[in-house]
Amino acid sequence: MTSTDFWLPEPVRVLRRQQELETTWTLELEPGKAGGRPCIPGQFNMLYMFGVGEVPISISGDTSLAESLVHTIRAVGPVSRQLAALQPMATVGLRGPFGVGWPMAAAEGSDLLLVAGGLGLAPLRPAIYHVLNNRERYGRVLLLYGTRSPEDILFHDQLEEWSKLPDFEVHITVDHAGSDWQGKVGVVPALVPTLAFDPEDTVAMVCGPEVMMRFTASALRGAGVEDDAIFLSMERNMKCALGHCGHCQFGATFICKDGPVLSFDRVRGLLSLKEF
């Protein structure tokens, strides 16, 4: 493979398409050349709708499976709307995988506190698959998931399955609900102080809107988790994915090549910088 390969979208076909939520779909793609490059949980691919544009989309499937690349896409803009509408056998451009993923190796032997907000559960799902595939290497897993309403719970059935596993706790909270919802209501950072866990032996992985990650990191610090044990997946505006265009520059860091997963001690001082 030459370095120029990363600049060229490779045409791959859509294998399967599944609707998750009203505006969110999961696409399984042919792995293409990327199938020959092992993906790491937390990495992303650039998906290109020919003639429309290109967007970074996190891998949301099991990265140990080579037969397909799984992405969960919310239709919010011109490119993602067309991507999400793709039917099986349609063609899409693929570049990747890119970026630094979750610190799965470094977290071995520790308990994991995974905190997801909204669609942020998708980039965390490969980390969960990795843990389940290598269960003996990790301690307790606590997954906190916050989303807008009960109707917006992503991967609902899977969350239910995971909650039945030993040493795997799932805590779901929604921002608003009707009176028929029997679960928790409130923001996800507020769950952190209610949990019993050993902060010195816990690695936290957080993915969601930046505001939610900021409050979550603050709650984790308050609970005693060290800054270098808190990892956030930053999702600022990435364009080239190679650190050349500068769109996603975040201080001295380029989200696309130094991230998207970054430890909180690296980004703590930068989270107040507004994205334009």
Binding site: R148, G183, K184, T194
Partner: protein
């Protein structure tokens, strides 16, 4: 069996409070239970109690004209339900309803306010415990208003 004084003083809200203060507060406390669906209080009514949840789940809800009530927060074991008792005009700002069987300590608000007024050190200690709860709920509300999980506005891929 634990005495009410033990239960009150062991509740996270009063944890660490000077024993003398804690004993003083216990005179305002009594055990209560609410079955699923029962209201602890209704919006606009007099805020006569502070509830310390022992076990259970309580939903805070707001009535929206023409719509079903919106549930915006649930409170659980160890939480405090009801802040309005500390602020004039002492009226509840929302409804509170038990989702499941809920056991709590109801602290009489008149009694609490009198004791806090008579002993500013006690009042300060109580406010020190209430303010972080208030601030936490304010921050949570800010985040909910931002609707951070909604679709982004403006250009997006």
């Amino acid at each position: 069996m634990k005495s009410i004084a033990q239960i009150v003083c062991e509740h996270p809200f009063f944890e660490g409070l000077d024993t003398e203060f804690c004993d003083l507060m216990c005179g305002c406390a009594r055990n209560v239970r609410f079955n699923a669906g029962e209201y602890l209080f209704h919006q606009g009514d007099d805020a006569d109690y502070l509830y310390l949840v022992r076990h259970g789940q309580v939903a805070l809800e707001l009535a929206v004209p023409g719509k079903a009530p919106v549930r915006f927060q649930t409170l659980h074991d160890g939480d405090v339900v009801g802040i309005s008792w500390i602020l004039p005009p002492y009226h509840w700002a929302c409804d509170a309803r038990a989702i499941g069987l809920t056991r709590a300590i109801a602290m009489d608000a008149h009694c609490l306010r009198n004791k806090c007024d008579q002993d500013p050190a006690l009042g300060y200690a109580v406010l020190n415990r209430l303010l972080p709860i208030l601030a936490g709920r304010l921050h949570a509300t800010q985040m909910q208003i931002l609707d951070v999980y909604g679709a982004p506005e403006g250009p997006a891929g």
